[in-house]
Amino acid sequence: MPSQVDSKAVTHEKATPLDPRDREAIAWQVRAARSDSAGFEALYRAFVDPVYRFCCRRLDTPEAAADATSQVFINAYTGLAGCDETRFRSWLFSIAHNVLVDCYRSRHDHASLDDADDLPSRFESPEEHVVRSEERLAIHRLLAVLTPDQRHIVELRLAGLTGGEIAEALGRSRGSVDTAQCRALARLRRAFLEQRESERRAEVSHGPA
């Protein structure tokens, strides 16, 4: 498999980088991608980072996130004709949201494979694997204090979407998004304070280092 990756990487032609926040350029690129599949590559390269990281925050393993990311872009390409190009980013993340919901639903079908994903890599020791898992779950643990609704909104905020785009992606009103994110902030604030307090107590009980 790695040889296959290398051989195709050699022939890869890099597309002009697009700024995901430049709506006008994105709209133009969406139109170009409709008539030319090569145009879609520029969109992919512009959005793969936020979409992959969005999937990482929801899924347990980078492999599952990569799988979901590829599914998001395949669905996006398939539905590109019906997309309002001025709202591409929110549309793409609504697809990502739906793909991740599907992943959760089909998760028990792949339980054994999910377990396999969590095996240590051949290239790292068990200790390194534990440290990697701990690090990866930091944002997961933080967002766990939120309701699913609030979590979706904060995850989309972390993906770089504005309030209006989040409302479009989730099919909600801007007002309800504002309300939910304010409540999410209050919960996160409490979680941060509790974390700080527990760290302080741990320091007191163990003494200064």
Binding site: Q4, V5, A9, T11, H12, E13, E24, A25, I26, A27, W28, Q29, R31, A32, R34, S35, D36, S37, F40, R45, V48, D49, Y52, R53, C56, R57, P62, E63, A64, A66, D67, S70, Q71, F73, I74, N75, Y77, T78, A81, H110, L113, A116, D117, L119, S121, R122, A138, I139, L142, R157, T162, G163, G164, G175, V177, D178, T179, Q181, L185, L188
Partner: protein, 371 residues
């Protein structure tokens, strides 16, 4: 505080938090009146706590290969998983992290079929793209150049002396006679010129602003610069001075390529959307008619491009360079050839710039010659 004013205060604060977070997303600014420092700190802490890793170049490439495989075969991952039954194992093994047995990739399992599908897809995509530009060019050409030229001629006739009624123009038409054949010929000429303009637009549209007025003005200017001197027939057509007012005639006729350029972008978008919708219809007749239209537009496109090729002017040949570069880039990507960016990008842009500069100079010379 009464409940109503409390609600409105809460709402205002929620909006302020929303605006603050928007500003952070858009410009990185982290201040907004009405938002408490605690809330600002919490937002900053959430962003700081985000430890999700960006994909490295290899992972980006491997995901793209998976997407491309499905995009080019026009299949979905669901179908792919169904076909080999090991979609997730394949994805995991692909990264080389764990030693699971590797499922055969679809490319390896059915190489010949995938190659045929890939070539078929490339041919269909290329044909459809050219057809959209040609059809859009024809429509915009008939509407703007054909009808526009007829209007311009009427205006010239209005300002002409009555004594010129019945005179012969340099194109051997009789002044004052509006014939059906002449009008159709004018519209068709406009349509054919429009197809060539549509192909030029297809070739250079990636270098233009994405949409709106800026794109319209840019392509309008390019076609005005490249085609103005052609419309003025290098100042050799004395009809510009003979009929009506020379200045008005020059303005009206050189405006046509500019207006065509302004129209071609929106018309292309419209034809593209219309074709997408037509090809998705369940009616076999609608799909067949659209496909026939696409196929028929190809000989017309070849005819229009041949007009450019066989035109003796080196300037119009230079205008073909972006078209050739665009076609080469498309084929190169499909045939997986690496084309130097100098050839694919910079050379056609320089050629286009040269066409504009020399075209404007020739237009100026033609105007001086007419006046």
């Amino acid at each position: 505080m009464d409940p109503r004013s409390e609600r409105s205060t809460t709402r205002a604060r929620e909006q302020a938090v929303g605006r603050l977070w928007d500003a952070l997303q858009e410009s990185g600014a982290l201040e907004e009146p009405g938002v408490t420092p605690e809330e600002i700190e919490t937002i900053a802490q959430v962003h700081d706590a985000d430890d999700s890793q960006s994909p490295d170049d290899d992972l980006v490439q491997s995901i793209w290969m998976r997407v491309q495989a499905d995009v080019e075969s026009n299949a979905t991952v669901a179908a792919r998983k169904a076909s080999n039954g090991h979609g997730l194992i394949q994805a995991v093994a692909f990264e080389g992290d764990i030693g699971l047995p590797q499922a055969p990739a679809p490319e390896e399992a059915r190489p010949r079929r995938r190659k045929i599908e890939s070539v078929r897809f490339a041919v269909w995509r290329g044909t459809r793209t050219v057809a959209v530009s040609a059809i859009a060019g024809f429509i915009a050409g008939v509407m703007v150049i054909g009808i526009g030229a007829r209007i311009a001629m009427r205006v010239a006739a209005m300002f002409s002396d009555d004594s010129l009624q019945g005179a012969r123009t340099e194109n051997l038409e009789t002044v004052g006679e509006i014939t059906v054949g002449g009008t159709i010929s004018l519209l068709l000429n406009g349509g054919f010129a429009g197809i060539a303009g549509g192909i030029v637009f297809l070739a250079i549209r990636r270098w233009l602003p994405p949409s709106g007025w800026r794109r319209a003005l840019a392509i309008g200017f390019v076609l005005f610069a490249a085609g103005g001197w052609v419309v003025l027939e290098q100042g050799e057509n004395m009809d510009y001075r003979r009929f009506g007012i020379a200045g008005v005639n020059i303005c009206l006729f050189t405006l046509l390529p500019f207006l065509f350029g302004m129209a071609i972008g929106p018309v292309t978008d419209w034809v593209d959307g219309w074709m997408n919708a037509a090809l998705k219809r369940t009616s076999v007749w609608a799909v067949a008619a659209t496909t026939l239209l696409i196929v028929l537009s190809l000989p017309m496109t070849l005819g229009a491009v041949a007009l450019l090729v066989f035109d003796p002017s080196p300037l119009t040949l230079l205008l073909l360079l972006p078209v050739v570069a665009r076609a080469t880039g498309f084929l190169g990507r499909r045939l997986r050839l690496s084309i130097p960016s100098m050839t694919a990008r910079w050379l056609p842009q320089v050629a286009l710039g040269a066409v504009c500069v020399v075209g404007l100079y020739l237009s100026a010379v033609a105007v001086i010659r007419i006046l």
